[in-house]
């Protein structure tokens, strides 16, 4: 992969994802599950994404502070 392409990709990864991929992974997973529940099971799962965001933040913070206190 050319160096400039790697740098370009690294810039956008850092811009959008930042220091921890966990938040992005949980948000994408929660949105996919929400879509499935709404469109396939007919469940109005409005509560799922706020719960996912709460869990993602907790997971990310736990990882960031593990062994530092």
């Amino acid at each position: 992969m050319p160096g400039w392409l790697r740098s370009f990709g690294a810039f956008w990864y850092d811009f959008v994802i930042g220091d921890d991929w966990r938040g992005a992974a949980v948000v994408v997973l929660a949105l996919a599950l929400t879509g499935l529940l709404v469109h396939e099971a007919g469940v109005n799962a409005w509560w799922l994404l706020p719960a996912g965001v709460t869990a993602a933040l907790g997971w990310s913070l736990r990882h960031a502070t593990a062994g530092k206190s």
């Binding site: 811009f15 959008v16 994802i17 930042g18 220091d19 921890d20 938040g23 992005a24 948000v27 994408v28 949105l31 929400t34 879509g35 709404v38 469109h39 109005n44 799962a45 409005w46 799922l48 994404l49 706020p50 965001v53 709460t54 993602a56 933040l57 907790g58 990310s60 913070l61 960031a64 502070t65 530092k68 206190s69």
Partner: protein
Amino acid sequence: MNATALVLTVFVACAVEAVEALTIILAAGLTRDWRSTFQGMAAALVVLAVVVAAVGPALTLFPLGVLRLVVGALLAVFGLMWLRKAILRASGYKGLHDEAGIYEREVTAARAAAPGGRHGVRDWYAFTLSFKGVLLEGLEVVFIAITFGDNQGNLGLAALGAAAAVLVIAGVGIAARAPLARVPENTMKFGVGVMLTSFGTFWGAEGAGVHWPGNDAALLGLIPFIALVCLGYTTLLRRARTRAQPVVARNAEVAPVTVPPPAAPAPGPSGPQGRH
């Protein structure tokens, strides 16, 4: 979301970014060369204008549902990134964002860099430092203004909020000719993180097909909920930190007592100097 809330959210978010860009511009301009710094800033603004001109109209081509799903996801991820840093700072696990400290580091690096120009620019270091700083912070301003404005169908008002923030910070910076260290940036980042995450969650779920109870009024519950979650995490982390700290502090305090100074008569009526 009414117009005032839209303008205020974009204003505060963009003000935070503008403060960071200003710090870099001041470091480059005051220590290197103002002309090259302004050239770098102008070049970055041209790139940002091209991005706005390309991305703005392109967004209108997508159906609103798809747009809300993608933009909501991006905003939520972006917001979580801000909140993570804000909570780690508020609970003492990460140093507070310090514009004065960042300015000092940039100034030291700028003074150490080799002089010299390129491509008609008198000072290439000042140019690139200013260009990168304005482009990076400006991209965040553009991202926030476009996503908020487009989702609310009012790009003009969002752009107004963003432009006002940049103008106010630039005006204050020109007047002060110093980094804006007194701006409560950490608190602002906490607030902006809550707003970005809340709106991202709201729009993202709507894009996935959810009908929020109470429609837009659900935001009045969602924003305090996210804020409370963040305050809760901050409190938990602070407690964990203070639970761990007394052991270290106790050891540090106990040490002088367990190893007393050599015995000597009291020097005077005030007695020996004790622990302070």
